[in-house]
Symmetry: C2
Subunit: 124 residues, 2 copies
DNA sequence: GCCAGGTATCTTGCATCGCATGGAACCAGG
DNA sequence: CCTGGTTCCATGCGATGCAAGATACCTGGC
């Protein structure tokens, strides 16, 4: 990819990620511990939230600093050891808070943009 | 209000606004020019995107700097003159680009959070 | 033994943007 | 003149995504 924000989309999505990435990463750890490159690949697969190591590792450090995750080293058969990240109770609580917060934010933006959304009980 | 982010929600929503506020403000100008305090009130009414003057005015300066809006002064019967902001062609294009970009981002976050959304053609 | 390539982790410096705070100008009423 | 409401703007800070680079482990070829 070209570095340096050649398109407006790139700049827009970069700003969009702020604050959301943290909780998407927490969400990925909901069912089982994950390690850095694994998280990176999952975000890549999502398309809209693809990012880089330089974003994910500082983010993971912050999560650890704030006691939202704990980490354990685990050996790998195919490379260097991996640091697995798992949710703490605090991390799980933060994820749930955000999950409650998100729909309101999402719907507000939809309303401003006049994006039609399928709503179950909309009038006519 | 207590300064300094006493709650996690406040911090989360603050980060959430980044990059979205710009386009919601542009969207508010879609039908007619608006002035600063008017935009502030509209954001306040939305609830989830309520913000302050210290956020909106620097944002409007950036929009003007990037030629996404033009401004005209207009006298007011009840106070000092108002600076009305109107979309340029570039601003309208940026808004349309973002309107196309947003659903993909929104749906990606929904997927990570496992937030169920009503979809027209979901299987059973 | 040595080097190349893939896997995996982390750091540094920068740019962007929301926000609290404070200031300035205009107008009306007492 | 002075208070209060309305409207505009600037400054400094904190948080965060990102490009670029550094470090370390493992396997395989020579």
């Amino acid at each position: 990819m070209e570095p340096g924000y050649s398109s407006k989309q790139a700049r827009a999505t970069a700003q969009l990620r702020k604050g959301v990435l943290e909780y998407c990463v927490l969400a990925l750890m909901r069912d089982r511990p994950r390690y850095g490159v694994e998280l990176l690949a999952a975000l890549e697969d999502s398309g809209a939230l693809a990012t880089s190591q330089g974003t994910v590792y500082p983010l993971l450090s912050r999560l650890r600093r704030d006691d939202l995750v704990t980490t354990t080293w685990q050996e790998s058969a195919v490379g260097p050891p991996r640091r697995y990240y798992a949710l703490t109770d605090g991390g799980r609580a933060a994820l749930e808070e955000f999950t409650l917060l998100w729909p309101g934010f999402r719907d507000a933006v939809d309303a401003f943009l006049n994006v039609p959304r399928p709503s179950p009980g909309d009038p006519a």
